[in-house]
Amino acid sequence: MHPAFSVVLFTAATGAGYGLLALLGMLGGLGFIAADIWLGLVGMVLALVLIAAGLLSSTGHLGRPERAWRAFSQWRSSWLSREGVASVATFIPAALFGIGWVFLGRSGGWVAVAGLMAAAGAVTTVCTTGMIYASLKPIAQWHSRYTLPAYLIFAAMTGCVLLNALLQGFSVGSTAVLTGALLATLGGWAWKLATWRYNDRLDIPTTANTATGLAGGTVRSIEWPHTEENYLLKEMGFRIARKHGEKLRWIAQALAFAAPAILLAIAFALPWPFATAASVLAAISQFAGMLVERWLFFAEAKHTVTLYYGRQ
């Protein structure tokens, strides 16, 4: 699948944004993170800007963005529509929570309810995003039991690493959040490795034989219907050289998992401001790594239409 940068950025940014929003809503609303106007302002703005930037970025690949409002109508059948509804609905409790926790400096009571509802909305939205991909049967690498948990795990991971950087930045670092960030990073790494292992051994039942209805023997494409690349090949026939794929997997692992894990481990031992520097670097490195990981998620996904073009 063609890795459109707008969609790569969208899933990475909204994942981190919703992860951070969910954690702030839960921990702030219940009073585990003390209300503080500057911490709250920076945290909520960061989360909402990541979400809004991601959503705006995703409209960047629409052919007719001025009609985007229509996408809220088909939530009964379409995961994309459900994502649209959930993402917009989440802004309401998020705004209420922001007002209560950031500006009024309150936690508990209705602020806790709003925070928990914002967290639930964030989790729901990430689920709908994951299901858009997990529901696509023609792309075996996405239509797997690994896809939906991956979206949730990576949102929790990037959100937690961001939250840790934020708390460290305001010198209210919490060992629990730091531990959570480190464990989530290691968990995300393990999940990604398991996903790649599964995908590399995938035995896809759809072949050139079933695609053409020609049973038995071999089916070899000898002539395409067109001499130039068409929409199908540009959008779904993206190919990545195996050697680059392997290199990019190492780069993604180094940036998204290994470097943040090491930096977070170091942050345990260092005093302020060095722990802050390590935590912020971990968050930046992880976001860059997640962009590479998202890019690979698309580039390594093979659509069945490529079978018609002789690509195995």
Binding site: G63, R64, A211, R220
Partner: protein, 244 residues
Amino acid sequence: MTCLPAQTEKKLGLVIDLDTCVGCQACVTACKEWNTGGYMAPLTDTDPYGGHADGVWFNRVHAYEHTTEQGGRTVNFPRSCLHCEQPACVTVCPTGASYKRASDGIVLVDEDKCIGCKLCSWACPYGAREFDTDVGVMKKCTLCVDRIYNDNLAAEDRVPACVAACPTSARHFGDLGDPASAISQLVAARGGVDLMPELGYKPTNKYLPPRAHTERSAKVDAPALEPIKAEGGFLGWIDRMLSN
């Protein structure tokens, strides 16, 4: 609505005979000619006379070499929308632009509602939908909905343009939901198949596999010619003289 009808009154579709298709591309050009002025017009071409011609086509004919133990053959393979009974391209549509008609099962796009998110083209395993970069919306085969019900055309012309154009009658049009229809009988007689049945889209269109090889057909795996052996007698003498 992008929810699917529980069932459709008719299942209009095509049956494509891979035995008789000669790959002449007449259906391809007839489709383009009709539909670039039809329901989903225009079928935009970009840079049509330049080095990177690209454009929207609803019907594309591939060519494959199918090799089995019985021998090998070239198979021309027209590929277009199969108007599936379970079209995920419709259910993934967030705007309601894509829909499957309850009356005849045709899958269509309302271009005025399409936002061009392209998700439907990802959801189609067959590559039936093509994006019009110029108009910014998705386009697809309409089964010539503006021909098959068109009272301005003579009755025999009320078939999709690709069917009307086919010089070898490799394309057939009719109601595949009616077991008594000529097209259903043809599918039953020739063992018509679904494409990618394992994905569960339940395509309406069927493909008739090439007929089995017969003993009468030429053997493509005949042994290579032996080199000429030197013989005795007059020819052998000439061979020896010329070889010197």
